[in-house]
Symmetry: C2
Subunit: 229 residues, 2 copies
C-alpha cells in the first residue's frame, strides 16, 4: 500500500510517505503553510521516485488546529487528489499524538490526553487509551482541563504543543508530560491509521470534506471563515 | 492552449477552463472556499472531458484579497500542479476587474480603478488604463481613495466588491460605477492574461509562490498568518 499523509494543524508541518513497509517522513517548523508544504511533498515523492498517481490514497489531518493551516493542508490534499484522481482520507490531528504515546509505551495501555494550543487561551483536547479515543475532540480552557486531569484515578500522559505550552498548569498529580518526541504531530501515524480505511475502500467525499474547527464562531459568523481579520 | 484559471480573493469563487477558443466558466458565492472550489474545478473538467494532466498550465489569482480565501485557492492550485506535473502562473486578482471594464468599453481606453474590500475599513486598489496597470496594488482607506478620485482629470470607472461597498463615498465627480457584470472577478480574464506567459514558458516556482496580502502585519507578526484568530 502506498499512502501520502500530511498534517498542518500546528506550526509543525509534517508529511509522510508509506510505501509498503518503507516509511519516509519530512517535517518542518513553519510560520505559514503557504510556502513549505508543497516542497515537503515534492521532496518525498522525488526521493521515492513516485508520482501522486501511484498512490493508493492521500491522508490529511483535519484538525482541530490552526484555522488557516488546516485549510491550506486540506486544499493541497484535495488538489493532489483531484489532479491524480486518487481518493482522500481525512483523520483527526489529535489521534497521531496519542499514537506516538502508544508506540512509546507498547503493551502498557497508557491513558493519554492529546492537547493542542487553540489560541485565545484555549486548547483542543481528547483522551485516548492505547491510541483509541475515549471521547470526542473538544475545545476548553486549560484551567478546566487541569481540574479534570487532577481528578484522574490513574497516570495520564500529556502530548501536543498545548501540553508543552501549559505544562506548569497541566503536568501535575496524575498527569505528566509524554516523552519529547510525542509532542509534534507526525504524519506517519496518520498513514498507519488510514490503512484500514483504505483497505476497506472507505474514502471521504472530496468536495464536502472540511476541517474541524470546533469553535461556534465558525457556524455563527459566515463571513469570518473567509477573512478572519 | 488549455488553461485552468481560478480566483478566491473574494466571496465570489470563480473557475474558468480555456480550451483553444472554447471557454467554460463556473462561479459561486461562497462563505468559505473550503467546500466549493474543488467542485467547480471538477465540474468544469468533467464537462470538458479533460484531465488536469491535459492542461498547459494552471493560473491562480494571487490577490490581494481574502487572507484565507487566497491561501486555499493557491494551495488547491499547487496541489493540482504538483500531482499532474503542470506549471503554475500566478496573477493579480485586481487585473481581471480592469480587464472586464476594458472589454465592456472596447477601443475607448477607459481609466479604471479596481477596488476590493480589504475589511477593517480598508480597500485594495490599483488604477488601470485599458486593462494595463498604472500603479502597484496598494492598501488604503476608502476616504483616501475618494479624495484621489475626486482629483482625477478624466472619467474613471470603479470595479470590484469594494467599489460596490463604498459606492456612496467613491462614485462621485469623475468616478462612476462600472457596469454590473464588472464587479465580480471572472477567472476567464486570468486565463486570457496568462496566455502570453504560458507561450513564453514564464512560470512561477511552485514552492515559493505566496499570496499578496499587502498588510504589514503579515511580515511583522509571523504567528498571525497561520492562525489569525
Amino acid at each position: 500500500m502506498r499512502l501520502l499523509a500530511l498534517d498542518t494543524a500546528t506550526r509543525h508541518a509534517t508529511v509522510a510517505l508509506l510505501d509498503g513497509e518503507a516509511l519516509r517522513e519530512r517535517e518542518r517548523e513553519v510560520t505559514t503553510h503557504s510556502e513549505g508544504l508543497l516542497s515537503l511533498v515534492d521532496e518525498l515523492l522525488a526521493e521515492a521516485g513516485l508520482a501522486v498517481a501511484a498512490l493508493d490514497a492521500i491522508v490529511c489531518g483535519l484538525g482541530p488546529g490552526s484555522f488557516t493551516g488546516l485549510r491550506i493542508g486540506l486544499a493541497t490534499a484535495k488538489g493532489l487528489c483531484l489532479a491524480a484522481r486518487r481518493p482522500l482520507v481525512g483523520l483527526s490531528s489529535l489521534q497521531p499524538l496519542a499514537a506516538a504515546v502508544a508506540e512509546a509505551f507498547p503493551r502498557e495501555q497508557r491513558l493519554c490526553c492529546a492537547v493542542l494550543d487553540a489560541r485565545r487561551g484555549e486548547v483542543f483536547v481528547a483522551r485516548y487509551r492505547d491510541g483509541s479515543a475515549l471521547e470526542p475532540e473538544r475545545l476548553c480552557r486549560p484551567e478546566t482541563l487541569a481540574a479534570e486531569l487532577a481528578a484522574e484515578t490513574e497516570p495520564i500522559l500529556l502530548a501536543g504543543d498545548g501540553a508543552l505550552l501549559y505544562r506548569e498548569l497541566l503536568a501535575r498529580g496524575p498527569a505528566s508530560l509524554a516523552p519529547e518526541g510525542c509532542h509534534p504531530i507526525h504524519a506517519r501515524y496518520l498513514a498507519h491509521a488510514a490503512r484500514a480505511r483504505v483497505e476497506a475502500g472507505s474514502f471521504d467525499e472530496l468536495a464536502s470534506l472540511v476541517p474541524r474547527y470546533l469553535r461556534a464562531s465558525d457556524a455563527r459568523l459566515p463571513e469570518v471563515p473567509l477573512w478572519r481579520d
